[in-house]
């Protein structure tokens, strides 16, 4: 665990193993005459029943970087296994999006390679040649801006940057500026390093919006954290369920669904989306083009984007991508939807250019500000 040398060596072995030629396409062929690994929809494969049968035949699904306490994935995986009898193996539960891509590359052609991916936007867009195009049955419900036109990737669930805090220690928090108060000494943490983790990155963007900055110019956000550090309020440890439970990070900037889930660690944990600093972001689903279990991978997508799967995301405090359509159709779980934190203001979603500019600024200035 401690040796970088060891992990480099393991990487070398994985790289060696990856030199083995990829297996031939021996995936099931449905009634439509199309193999599971090239089917771009259930219909093309011969219908849902054919897809379910082929997936059951494969019997297994490899997922990666899906911790049980993230967006309700624990229940989602259990429900899928229960429904279809397909065993799910989770690799690197706490891995980052880039780890997923690294795994797709190094495990190419092996039965342990991930079948499906769940990634942040930057990583998703940078690796589109690795995904299989697939459109789920509920494809039309998803707004055009939230999917790749051929189905290489599609938004699955999202949320807003939020402040989670221990309400037994602090009075109510509504805005980011509140966190500069002297009550918050050694208290405020981010979920990761913004030059590394998407959640922490959006935390800085939110801080910028809440302090007179904009999505185009996040310097105000970095200044905010510098001020937070200078006042002794910033904790440079990465917030996690463990640090929330132990009280080491009594305030955590993270996605609202993560903060919502932290109630299980601390019953006093409250989640608020800060005033005038509403930053949203969606995660993306994609199928590994070389998925070892292509039918199960496609069935998993169908499940995630079904009413059942989308309501399960909602159960974890995440906002499913079909939320609007399901609200119109009356299929959304209204009780769960009512529990979502209020969104005070118009949400901001960063464009690719804004993300790139912000990343560049952070790379050059973040370490200086909090170092």
């Amino acid at each position: 665990m401690r040796g970088v040398g060891a992990s480099v060596a393991v990487g070398a072995i994985v790289a060696l193993a990856a030199c083995a030629p990829p297996s031939d396409d021996d995936s099931a062929v449905g009634e439509g005459g199309v193999s599971a690994s090239s089917a771009t929809s259930a219909e093309e494969f011969g219908g849902m029943d054919a897809l379910i049968a082929a997936a059951k035949e494969e019997g297994e699904l490899n997922v990666i970087a899906l911790p049980d306490n993230w967006a309700n994935y624990g229940e989602i995986k259990a429900a899928f296994t229960e429904k279809y009898g397909i065993k799910i193996t989770t690799d690197q539960p706490d891995g980052a999006s880039q780890d997923e891509i690294n795994s797709v590359k190094t495990e190419k052609g092996r039965s342990t390679a991930p079948d499906v991916l769940d990634m942040g936007s930057a990583v998703t867009l940078a690796n589109t040649d690795l995904y299989a195009a697939y459109k789920v049955a509920t494809w039309d419900d998803i707004p055009d801006a939230q999917k790749e036109s051929t189905g290489l990737w599609v938004n699955d669930y999202g949320g807003y940057m939020s402040i989670g805090y221990d309400s037994s220690k602090f009075n109510s928090v509504t805005a980011l500026k509140d966190l500069l108060g002297s009550d918050f000494k050694n208290s405020v943490a981010l979920n990761g390093d913004p030059t590394q983790a998407g959640a922490a990155f959006s935390g800085v963007v939110a801080a910028s919006l809440g302090n007179g900055g904009s999505a185009d110019d996040i310097s105000k956000g970095v200044d905010f954290f510098k001020e937070l550090k200078d006042s002794g309020n910033f904790v440079p440890v990465q917030s996690s369920p463990a640090t929330i439970k132990s009280g080491e990070t009594p305030v955590a900037l993270d996605w609202d669904y993560n903060n919502a889930a932290a109630v299980s660690e601390n019953k006093n944990w409250k989640t608020v989306v800060p005033e005038g600093a509403v930053v949203g972001s969606y995660y993306n689903q994609a199928i590994n083009a070389d998925a070892p279990h292509p039918a199960a991978a496609r069935l998993w997508q169908e499940f995630l984007f079904s009413d059942e799967g989308q309501n399960l995301f909602l159960g974890g405090g995440a906002r499913p991508v079909r939320m609007d359509a399901m609200t119109d159709a009356g299929t959304i779980d209204a009780d769960l939807a009512a529990k979502l934190p209020e969104v005070p203001g118009e949400p901001v979603f960063l464009t690719t250019e804004q993300t790139e500019a912000a990343t560049k600024y952070l790379t050059e200035n973040w370490a200086k500000a909090i170092g």
Partner: protein
């Protein structure tokens, strides 16, 4: 680490068969697993790191990755890594050596020795997330001890645990036990007869240590120091669990370069950083072997 004495008969047989040329000596076979191991786990990764440090992800040659080593934040991280490794190796080596000496002074199978070696064996491996978390919940900002001290009016918080100072303290927790483990055998090798010989020649404690003890123990001490240096230099998980912001040491920067979700395409910069680490350890090894030669002169 014990050397097997070759019996005269065996040596003679081998020599004779070589001379007559009837049998090919197969003694080299024994070393094959070792060579395979070294090749697979040491040489191959090193070669991959060196090659990829000079290439783009697509395999085109480039110097851009290595140029990143000159960035001020990288140089600072290297400096902090070396400072951290040197200080924890020095403190760990001194305290570990003293502790080991105290253990050796006692009876060979006494309770103290058994307890200390067992504890050292466990603690030397007690690194990573568990260790970091143990420190967090005891002396972190909201840690048990911190809060108890605050209760008595002594404010010791202030985030020291999440800076270089914190890493030094936490690393010592596995450095000192490791020193005890690797230095005990060397101390065991010091025969009480040598001391008696010094005394019978009229030498006191000072003369014994000046002319026998220290020269004899210097090479293993330096070797252990180097091991501690490398151990701290490559340590990753403890620091990663403790410090979530900014790559203050090189292993954390490598992590960022390899797994970042926001700054993409830095994998080969990670290889260049690893190459930098290889160079630092290489220099340390060269220094060590030079000092080893000098200090070992006495033994010849």
């Amino acid at each position: 680490m014990t050397s097997v004495p070759v019996t005269p008969e065996a040596g003679e047989t081998a020599a004779r068969s070589t001379r007559t040329g009837r049998r090919v000596p197969l003694s080299w076979l024994g070393v094959v697993p070792f060579l395979a191991y070294v090749g697979l786990f040491l040489i191959l990764p090193t070669v991959l790191v060196v090659v990829q440090a000079f290439g783009t992800p697509e395999g085109q040659p480039t110097l851009a990755n290595v140029k990143a080593l000159g960035e001020s934040y990288v140089l600072e991280a290297f400096w902090r890594s070396i400072l951290l490794s040197l200080s924890t190796a020095a403190i760990g080596a001194v305290f570990g050596a003293v502790l080991a000496y105290l253990v050796v002074s006692g009876p060979a199978d006494g309770i103290v020795r058994r307890t200390v070696t067992a504890a050292a064996g466990v603690l030397a491996q007690f690194g990573g997330v568990t260790l970091a978390f143990a420190f967090m919940v005891s002396v972190g900002n909201q840690g048990l001890i911190t809060l108890m001290l605050q209760g008595t009016g002594l404010d010791v918080s202030g985030g020291w645990l999440y800076r270089l100072s914190g890493l030094i303290v936490v690393y010592l927790y596995f450095q000192i036990p490791l020193m005890v483990l690797v230095f005990l055998p060397a101390l065991d090798g010091v025969k009480p007869q040598w001391r008696e010989a010094t005394e019978s020649l009229g030498g006191g404690t000072w003369a014994y240590w000046r002319h026998v003890g220290v020269p004899l123990l210097t090479p293993p001490f330096l070797g252990a120091f180097l091991l501690l240096f490398a151990n701290a230099f490559a340590a990753y998980a403890t620091a990663a669990a403790l410090i979530g912001q900014g790559g203050i040491i090189i292993p954390l920067q490598i992590r960022t370069a390899m797994t970042s979700e926001t700054v993409l395409g830095q994998e080969n910069v990670a290889k260049a950083l690893a190459l930098g680490m290889v160079v630092v350890v290489g220099v340390a090894m060269a220094l060590y072997s030079w000092m080893q030669r000098r200090s070992a002169r006495w033994l010849r």
